[in-house]
């Protein structure tokens, strides 16, 4: 469509020309034949136009055709001009044909022409600038903007200052039509027609309203005129003779086909389905390879995936928003939506993706045959003997002993089971009558009591109390007169003798007479944490913070708790991690029990002596069977908080643990004399009732020596007795 575009171009060029010379407009209309100007017009046509022109001419070398096209070009705008210009255009065209490269020359010529012409037509206007197409910045600092045709400098006009120009522009209603032509340093005002043209151009239309871009195409070339062929040569002979070489080739192919060297492709047939599993009975042969594990079927959709689920399946907006806060793994994959009719269902956006993911699952995921975990939770629970068969054991709180004003730290039961002693943080030691809850006696020791312990010998109702750095051995004043006298004598006499006897020990322990409470005071250097009597009531073990190097016990870490073997001369001492078992006679380490706990808090020995329980700060209880191994036989995780104390019953197969979570567990712990039978451990009862204070719950528990009763000392300053 070179022709059409060239048509448009010419129109544009024409327009440009007009723009350049606004005054010419009138002249054009008046003077119909202005020959030099029109030549120039033609010269300004863009190169594409001239190219097409030259092609045109080259092909047909006939001038009247091109002439016609030219006339078409101008017919729309200047109908009257077109015929008058004819001769000149012809001349130009022939120029093009003769010297195709003479373009530049000619353009120079036209420049000349233009300058002259402008001189002639626009005398009143300042002379035209002749600097050409150079950046105007080059003249920025000069006084002139260029040179006129005669080579004189064209001076710059005086610049109006901004304010003035603004004011002028504000006053002038035609200001929007004015354009500053920097090249000529003048202000050009567009005429109404020009603005119209510009508007049309901006819209992308042809500049002239009367131009029809879709005019019917007229073929100006006379096709019927050509009578003769381009070449008049006769048909060559070879066109009529069969080719020898082709014949040879055909023969060769024929031979090859006969010999079977060339095979023809059979048409490809579509794979057809047939009865693949025709005879089922024959297909029983076993495949040699591994068992095929069928892929699990995709999950079937639930109510919430329905297009119209019940309203309750649709999450509220808040819930949907809250999904954003969840971790991406936890976030629900599918958010139910509701459409009130089937025509409203949109396409599911993940249909292809879901299918693709399924494909990936099928070929990427390892498949394992897994047994369905369909276990009845009841079956996981171990079969334990019924609790009813294991009676009696403490069940309910029967009595509460109140009187202490602060947390009761320790409680101890008299060997007869008639009395209990309790030590508290408020600095008192009290003796209670078990049956009635009557407080028998109160010692007011100023410091907080750590531990109290009755002497296990019934004839010697003596109480050991640990307070800060001291151990007090108090006369309870119980028992008959004979006993009383003996005790008084014992407490009085013992002090000086022991002091004399063991001068070495004195460095650690000093035995003093305590007149205030009527007993003996053993002062240590460091605070004493716990006391334990030997079963015969002759010896006393006290644990203090200081490393007791005197004893042949080498410990790793601080001792936490200690206990004497109930029948033999064996001593258990526990550090935070392990329990060490020493033979007191041979001064030898017998065993090291590895608890596997983080921090042991208490320890108790079964009355038979072969089983030990250890309570820990993380709430775990370990049962050790000494004959079995040094590893725990059973670890029970029963308390969420620290276990503060554990205890064995002396005659019943019971043991208990109490903890800071305000509960005490009672267990049945049967040890059989048959060595092949493992001990039976059954949790029996959780005893509650104590209240928490300062984050501490039950601080101590002790069994009654004869009855299946349990005493618990709580941080809520109460002692409770649980009976069966």
């Amino acid at each position: 469509m070179g022709k059409k575009s060239s048509l448009q171009d010419s129109a544009v060029a024409k327009h440009k020309h007009r723009h350049r010379m606004p005054e010419e407009e009138e002249e054009d209309t008046t003077k119909t034949t202005n020959t030099p100007k029109d030549t120039q017009t033609h010269q300004q046509l863009p190169s594409s136009d001239s190219d097409s022109d030259s092609d045109y001419n080259g092909e047909f070398s006939e001038d009247d055709g091109s002439e016609d096209s030219e006339s078409l070009r101008y017919s729309d705008t200047e109908e009257s001009d077109s015929f008058g210009d004819e001769g000149i255009i012809e001349k130009v065209n022939s120029d093009d044909v003769t010297n195709g490269h003479g373009q530049e020359e000619e353009s120079d010529d036209s420049e000349l022409h233009r300058a002259e012409e402008s001189d002639s037509s626009e005398d009143d206007v300042a002379p035209r600038n002749t600097v050409g197409d150079v950046p105007l910045e080059w003249y920025r600092d000069e006084e002139h903007i260029g040179y006129d045709i005669t080579g004189k400098k064209i001076k710059k006009k005086e610049r109006e200052d901004k304010l003035q120009s603004f004011l002028a522009s504000a006053d002038d209603s035609t200001n929007w039509r004015k354009i500053n032509d920097e090249y000529n340093d003048e202000v050009v005002e567009l005429t109404k027609e020009e603005t119209k043209l510009i508007h049309r151009l901006l819209k992308g239309k042809a500049p002239h309203a009367d131009f029809d871009p879709h005019a019917p195409y007229v073929d100006w070339f006379k096709w019927d005129g050509a009578k003769h062929p381009l070449s008049n040569a006769p048909e060559p002979k070879r066109r009529f003779i069969p080719s020898k070489w082709e014949h040879k080739k055909v023969v060769a192919y024929r031979r090859a086909i006969r010999k079977g060297l060339i095979k023809f492709d059979k048409p490809k047939e579509e794979p057809r389905a047939y009865l693949l599993w025709g005879d089922e009975s024959s297909s029983t042969e076993k495949s040699g390879h591994l068992a095929y594990i069928p892929a699990p079927k995709p999950k079937l959709p639930g109510h919430e995936e329905s297009y119209n689920p019940s309203l309750e399946y649709i999450p509220t907006q808040e819930e949907i928003n809250s999904y954003q806060l969840m971790y991406e793994e936890d976030r629900p994959k599918f958010i139910p939506r509701r459409y009130t009719s089937m025509r409203n269902i949109p396409a599911y956006e993940n249909a292809v993706k879901d299918s693709f993911e399924r494909c990936l699952d099928l070929y990427l995921c390892p498949r394992v045959r897994k047994k369905r975990i369909n276990i009845d939770p009841e079956s996981l629970k171990p079969k334990l003997p019924s609790r009813k068969d294991l009676k009696p054991f403490p069940i309910t709180c029967y009595l509460e002993y109140r009187g202490h004003t602060d947390a009761v730290v320790s409680v101890s039961v008299d060997s007869s089971g008639q009395w209990i002693a309790s030590g508290s943080m408020d600095g008192t030691v009290r003796i209670w009558e078990v049956g009635t809850g009557r407080c028998l006696r109160v010692w007011d020791i100023d410091d907080a009591v750590k531990c109290v312990a009755w002497n296990p010998v019934p004839e010697r109702p003596v109480l050991a109390v640990s307070v800060e750095q001291d151990i007090l051995i108090l006369n309870t004043g119980l028992g008959n007169e004979e006993d009383q006298e003996r005790i008084k004598e014992l407490l009085r006499v013992k002090a000086p003798t022991s002091l004399d006897d063991s001068g070495g020990i004195a460095s650690i322990v000093s035995w003093l007479q305590d007149d205030k409470h009527g007993g003996i005071k053993l002062s240590h250097f460091k605070t004493v944490s716990s006391i334990e009597w030997h079963r015969k009531g002759d010896y006393l073990s006290a644990l203090s913070k200081k490393h007791s190097q005197r004893i042949p016990f080498k410990l790793h870490g601080l001792p936490v708790s200690s206990v004497f073997h109930p029948t033999r001369s064996i001593f258990f001492i526990s550090t935070k991690r392990n329990v060490r078992v020493y033979d007191l006679v041979k001064h030898k380490l017998i065993k090291n029990l590895e608890t596997g706990l983080r921090e042991v808090s208490s320890i108790a020995v079964h009355p038979a002596g072969d089983n030990v329980i250890v309570g820990s700060r993380e709430g775990k209880l370990c049962w050790f069977d000494m004959d079995l191994s040094s590893q725990p036989y059973r670890t029970l995780k029963c308390h969420p908080k620290d276990i503060t104390s554990v205890a064995f019953h002396r005659s019943y197969p019971l043991f208990a643990s109490c903890s800071d979570d305000c509960t005490a567990y009672v267990f049945h712990g049967m040890v059989y004399s048959d060595l092949n039978q493992n001990p039976l451990i059954v949790p029996l009862e959780i005893l509650r009732g104590h209240r928490s204070s300062n984050g501490r719950g039950v601080l101590d528990c002790k069994f009654h020596p004869r009855q299946p009763w349990l005493f618990t000392a709580g941080a809520d300053s109460a002692i409770r007795l649980y009976c069966h």
């Binding site: 689920p309 025509r343 949790p683």
Partner: protein, 605 residues
């Protein structure tokens, strides 16, 4: 015999010898990864999980036997040859030798998958068992546009469409469809073929959304296999009902995209041809269907009998017993099938233009109904007097005929799932239909029964009793016995429920009284023993009798947990967490329901 000695560090035993990683396998087979993938997909080889992952946790492991199995696959050689040809073609093309390229393209070795299918599914039933994914995929691709850039050709899409229609036609014809569920993702169908429950998903008939993060190569490999599998399965199924395969369809109907109907015509035509003595009957008359069904089922049962006899050794004493059992099971199946076959037995449907035609054209005949649609080639037009239901999915219906009911398509699906003809009140034109519930959910096991499920259950119970009318009930009111019956039954059901509730109440009351009694007994016991202090405990005991009960239960649970081993405790806790999740979900649903109810109430008032 002892183990062979191997130098240390070279020991290849156990898991190290039995499993290899994927990269090792690829190297071993001398193929590239895409080809390995393709082979695995076609052969159905999947990674396995060794007990001990020798190479590390982040590898995929294949069993060595699986890989050996791949190695002996003739397909491997074919693929290699193909690759050679592809290289040649590429070279020819780059040398602008189009002719040679075309010739090579034609000579490229081709492969067939029938042997693989036979190998993977030695019995037909195995193929049926694995058909779920196959069907879903073929149906998806039938709804996809052809994509040039993803190598999804028009031919393949057409093939998928054809296969899916063949399958649907078979299911519909033999009344094997059991459940339908319209979800947001598409429509789920469940059919029962030879005792296998086959569930598949068809996307909604809309333009599918395609995302960039999809590797179509993998999907196309799967599709290739699935197409072949479905073709063979269809062939087998068609032969089992004495219809030739592949069906030749009426080109006019095919052009109108009414393939399903064309297929049903094909069925009718071929069955007429095969049943020599059968009477000339209407086009899709139900008697004819029944006749054919009878014969096919007869054939099938004979076949089965023969199979069983083949499989069971004659000297086994239980052989006969097995046979008898099998027959009884089949009878049960027949009961179910009969119910499905006659659900829409005497109903005639007409589909409006806006309803999902393909789905309904499949579902309604599957349950014994007659159906037509708006458009060319339809068996009967809208003006037919005998039409009982017109399926409409538009806000209002301008012209209504009194002889028929205008219902929304959901009604069909709900009827199918409930296996009864539901009342159409809720589904009339312009109404918001009742919730559409999934037939795949066991409401009791889930712990939450939606309201509409209860209503359907009640209606089902009513319908069941309707078949066996109560004596004396029919005589009372002859005018509208059915309605009355339904009402009566509903009443009865309610009464039953009330009675049950009462029983529960009584039980609760009794329990409470017992507790009271226990407490009363407990009080004198403690008071007789204790002194003044006991009053403290007593009051405490009185203060919290109820939490005590709870606590006792909790304690019991706690105590049993204490003695458990850690593994078992973990398992139990996991179970409990799962249960709790389920319970929480139910609670959430109930909460939402209450909220909605409250909101409605406040709106009403």
């Amino acid at each position: 015999m002892g183990k062979h000695y191997r130098p240390p560090g070279k020991k290849k035993e156990g898991n190290a010898a039995r499993y290899i990683t994927r990269s090792q396998a690829v190297k071993h087979l001398q193929v590239n990864l895409p080809l390995f993938r393709k082979l695995c997909i076609l052969k159905g080889i999947f990674p396995r999980e060794p007990k001990k992952k020798v190479k590390g946790n982040h590898h995929t492991y294949y069993h060595l036997k699986d890989i050996a199995f791949l190695q002996h696959e003739p397909l491997l050689e074919t693929f290699r040859e193909k690759r050679v040809y592809e290289k040649k073609i590429k070279k020819a093309k780059s040398k602008k030798n189009e002719e040679r390229a075309n010739r090579l393209e034609q000579q490229k070795p081709d492969y067939k998958l029938d042997r693989l299918i036979r190998e993977r599914y030695p019995k037909f039933i195995d193929a049926l068992r694995d058909l779920d994914d196959c069907l879903t995929m073929v149906h998806l691709f039938a709804a996809l546009p052809a994509l040039d850039r993803e190598k999804v050709e028009v031919k393949r899409v057409h093939n998928c469409r054809r296969l899916s229609h063949e399958w649907l036609a078979y299911i519909s014809r033999t009344h094997k469809l059991r459940k339908v569920f319209v979800s947001v993702k598409g429509i789920y169908y469940q059919a029962e073929v030879q005792g296998q429950k086959i569930t598949w998903l068809t996307p909604h008939a809309l333009q599918q959304v395609l995302t960039d993060d999809i590797d179509f190569n993998v999907m196309l490999t799967y599709l290739e296999f699935n197409e072949t599998l479905l073709a063979f399965v269809n062939c087998h199924l068609y032969h089992s009902i004495n219809v030739t395969y592949p069906p030749i369809l009426d080109p006019r109907l095919e052009a109108l995209a009414a393939d399903l109907y064309a297929l049903s015509r094909w069925f009718a035509a071929t069955s007429r041809a095969s049943l020599v003595g059968s009477e000339a009957s209407s086009l899709s008359g139900s008697e004819q269907v029944k006749d054919e069904q009878k014969e096919t089922s007869l054939n099938e049962s004979e076949l089965r009998l023969a199979q069983l006899q083949h499989q069971l050794p004659s000297n086994e004493p239980g052989a006969l017993m097995h046979l008898v059992e099998d027959v009884s099971i089949e009878d049960e199946e027949d009961q179910d099938a009969r119910e499905c076959k006659t659900l829409f037995g005497n109903l005639k449907f007409f589909l409006s233009r806006e309803v999902p035609r393909e789905s309904l054209l499949f579902v309604i005949p599957a349950f014994g109904g007659m159906v037509s649609w708006e458009g060319d080639g339809a068996p009967f037009d809208e003006g037919d007097e005998n039409i009982t239901h017109q399926i409409v999915d538009r806000p209002t219906q301008a012209r209504k005929m009194l002889s028929r009911e205008y219902v929304q398509p959901q009604w069909i699906f709900d009827c199918v799932n409930a296996r009864i003809i539901l009342p159409t009140d809720g589904y009339l034109v312009g109404r918001v239909p009742p919730p559409h519930l999934s037939p795949f959910v066991d409401n009791e096991a889930e712990g939450y029964v939606p309201d509409y499920a209860e209503t359907i259950k009640r209606l089902q119970a009513a319908a069941r009793n309707q078949v066996l009318p109560l004596p004396g009930m029919g005589k009372e009111d002859l005018e509208d016995p059915q309605n009355l019956l339904v009402e009566g039954i509903i009443d009865r059901a309610e009464a039953n429920e009330a009675a049950e509730r009462k029983r529960k109440m009584i039980a609760l009351e009794k329990q409470y009284h017992d507790e009271l009694k226990m407490e009363l007994e407990g009080v004198p016991y403690t008071s007789s023993v204790s002194n003044k202090q006991s009053s403290v405990t007593e009051t405490e005991g009185r203060e919290e009798p109820l939490p005590d009960l709870q606590q006792i239960a909790e304690d019991a649970a706690n105590m049993s947990k204490v003695v458990m081993s850690r593994k078992k405790r973990g398992l139990l806790e996991a179970i409990e967490i799962g249960k709790k999740k389920k319970k929480d979900h139910v609670v959430l649903l109930k909460e939402r329901k209450n909220k909605i109810k409250a909101a409605q109430k406040s709106k009403d008032s």
